[in-house]
């Protein structure tokens, strides 16, 4: 393992710590801590009772001390109890994480499958008609409000045509096979991949244009390789290197999109869970959810970084990662 990778891991841990500390502080500023809610629910509680309850839950102690406590417990795997679901946080979290990773994974594969050909075609003839059309489509993809796109899909395919279910997951309690589950995933995955396609295709296009100016491309041309071969074998293989990093960098955005899509399609997943936890004052759940989402994103970036080093020998000896 290289020194560079080690320092990136260190940085990621520091970022994770900062984000969790920041969210811990902010969540304490949200309306209605658990005791406030108890007071609202039971008017007979006196201020003394409230103070005692706060002391019992440790809410009267200073914030840094409470955060240190939380961190210590979380590191030992004790995430506390979820207020909304009345079960340990890990019990709600783990299945949701799986569901979101499935959604993200499928959306990413679909997006790459569309974006790579689109980006290569656009770069084949920069400023050409195809390039302009793809460019416009990309702009449309990043400009469309994701929740509205999801609504339109529901409007057309569920309300209008009746082909697909309007929700993003089978109703609870119904034991359905994987094929049936896929049917529920079609619209969420489609809605999530549109903006990803747009941003990936731009990455591929600019990486391709860059790669096509390289010496080896000229050599390949001079040796009489066909246009398609130069484009797909010589250009794309090199262009995919920078694209790996950029796609990993977009995972955070993709996760934000998953939150929206899960909310519109009422699909139980991490994003919707975090959203519900924040709105429902479920502090423990919100904290772990936020931290986990950040950790997944950082890990994906680290993974891409490590992969990049493997794929491109020049990086292994190189210094800083630059921009």
């Amino acid at each position: 393992m290289s020194k560079r990778l080690l320092s990136r891991i260190g940085q990621s841990l520091v970022i994770l710590l900062l984000v969790s500390a920041g969210s811990y502080g902010l969540i304490g500023l949200m309306p209605g801590d658990p005791i406030d809610l108890m007071i609202q629910a039971d008017p007979r509680l006196t201020p003394e009772d409230a103070a005692r309850l706060k002391a019992l839950e440790g809410l009267d102690r200073p914030l840094p001390e409470r955060y240190a406590d939380w961190l210590w417990n979380a590191l030992q795997g004790d995430f506390g109890q979820s207020r909304l679901y009345k079960v340990p946080v890990a019990d709600v979290l783990v299945p949701r994480l799986g569901s979101t990773l499935l959604l993200l994974g499928l959306a990413m594969v679909l997006a790459l499958a569309v974006a790579i050909p689109a980006g290569v075609l656009a770069a084949a003839k920069p400023r050409g008609v195809t390039d302009r059309a793809i460019n416009l489509a990309c702009f449309a993809g990043v400009s469309i409000p994701p929740f509205w796109l999801a609504l339109l899909l529901i409007l057309v395919f569920a309300v209008g045509l009746g082909w697909l279910p309007a929700s993003g997951a089978p109703p609870a309690g119904r034991d359905t096979g994987f094929g049936d589950h896929l049917l529920y995933l079609v619209m969420p995955v489609a809605a999530l991949s549109v903006s990803a396609v747009a941003s990936y295709a731009r990455h591929v296009r600019s990486a391709m244009i860059e790669a096509m100016t390289e010496d080896w491309v000229r050599t390949a041309r001079a040796k009489g390789a066909s246009r398609a071969r130069v484009l797909w074998r010589h250009g794309l293989r090199n262009a995919l290197l920078p694209v790996t990093t950029l796609v990993a960098l977009d995972i955070g955005t993709l996760f934000s999109g998953a939150l929206i899509v899960e909310t519109v399609f009422a699909r139980p997943g991490m994003g919707k869970l975090i959203y519900d936890a924040i709105l429902g004052n479920d502090y423990n759940l919100a904290m772990i959810g936020l931290t986990l989402a950040t950790a997944v994103t950082l890990a994906a970036n680290l993974g891409a970084d490590a992969l990049y080093g493997r794929l491109d020998p020049r990086v292994r000896t190189g210094g800083g990662s630059g921009l």
Partner: protein
């Protein structure tokens, strides 16, 4: 990061940015003239008409009525005022933050540059929406703001402006940093250093004016992102608070509306889409001509 399909024609000869400008001009004009339009049509955005729930377009209500029988057109106009206002204010604030960071990182360089740019990369990479939701859910009263300010009618507007700016400054920071790097070694900056000007003066008088082009590009591009983000947060019920209409908030109930009155789900989203698309295409043309990447 070239996205642009470069063009050598001057801006006013290129149909795409001109169409975008005309569209945006119409939007701004409609937002400014909203009170007059409302008076002309004899409708407003707040009158509830429970007998007119989900009514299709009629002579009096040109775009129909929503789930409380309010006039759809008037609500769209009022929502447009809010979205554009948040867009301009948010992008403006984001530009200020991004410019300061970009100037400092680009001009001073060294370790500060490394730290600031690592911070920018981190903000770009993080799952930003869940974190913004926490911010949006904050109780301003607990922050120690005076009661009147924290609960005032405009509090949700200002809160959303600050929140979207916190997510939107990264584009500006990167573009300004890159431009500052190229300006830093110019002779006029050297001359200013040689004549003993302070760092602040050099940045303010010599560097800033020469990076104003990239700033303009970044601001244009971030207005679109800011409007999009505002619509998302308002859709999730965390942005502009009812009864103030905003395009995103008008779709909050749309999941139930799609079954009863699908036409209500079309307009607000379409307006966000068209506005953001026009701004982005315009920003792209500007980038093409000013930054030249």
């Amino acid at each position: 990061m070239s996205i642009a399909v470069a063009s050598d024609r001057p801006l006013w000869r290129d149909p795409v940015p001109m169409i975008c400008l005309a569209l945006l001009g119409t939007m701004v004009l409609a937002a400014l003239l909203t009170p007059a339009i409302e008076r002309l049509l004899g409708v407003d955005a707040v009158t509830v008409d429970l007998f007119g729930r989900f009514q299709p377009p009629s002579e009096k209500h040109l775009l129909g009525q929503d789930e409380l029988g309010r006039d759809m057109l008037a609500r769209l106009l009022r929502g447009g005022q809010v979205s554009l206002l948040v867009g301009f204010l948010g992008a403006g604030l984001a530009a200020v933050i991004g410019t300061v960071i970009g100037l400092l990182a680009g001009y001073l360089g060294g370790r500060l540059d490394a730290v600031l740019m690592r911070m920018t990369d981190t903000v770009i990479a993080l799952p930003i929406l869940p974190l913004l939701i926490v911010l949006a859910a904050l109780d301003l009263g607990k922050l120690g703001l005076p009661e009147g300010l924290a609960t005032s009618e405009n509090a949700s507007l200002w809160k959303i402006v600050v929140i979207v700016a916190m997510a939107g400054w990264t584009t500006t920071a990167r573009l300004v940093r890159a431009a500052t790097l190229s300006v830093r070694s110019r002779t006029y900056v050297e001359a200013a250093v040689a004549s003993g000007a302070s760092t602040f003066r050099i940045l303010w008088r010599h560097v800033l004016p020469n990076v104003s082009g990239p700033i303009l590009v970044a601001v244009t591009l971030s207005i679109g992102n800011v409007i999009l983000l505002e619509s998302v947060l308002s859709f999730l019920g965390l942005g502009i608070q009812p009864p103030t209409p905003s395009w995103g908030a008008m779709l909050t109930n749309a999941q139930t509306i799609v079954w009863e009155a699908p036409h209500l789900a079309i307009w607000p989203g379409l307006l966000v889409f068209v506005t953001v698309l026009a701004i982005n295409l315009l920003g792209d043309s500007l980038r093409d001509r000013i930054v030249g990447v």
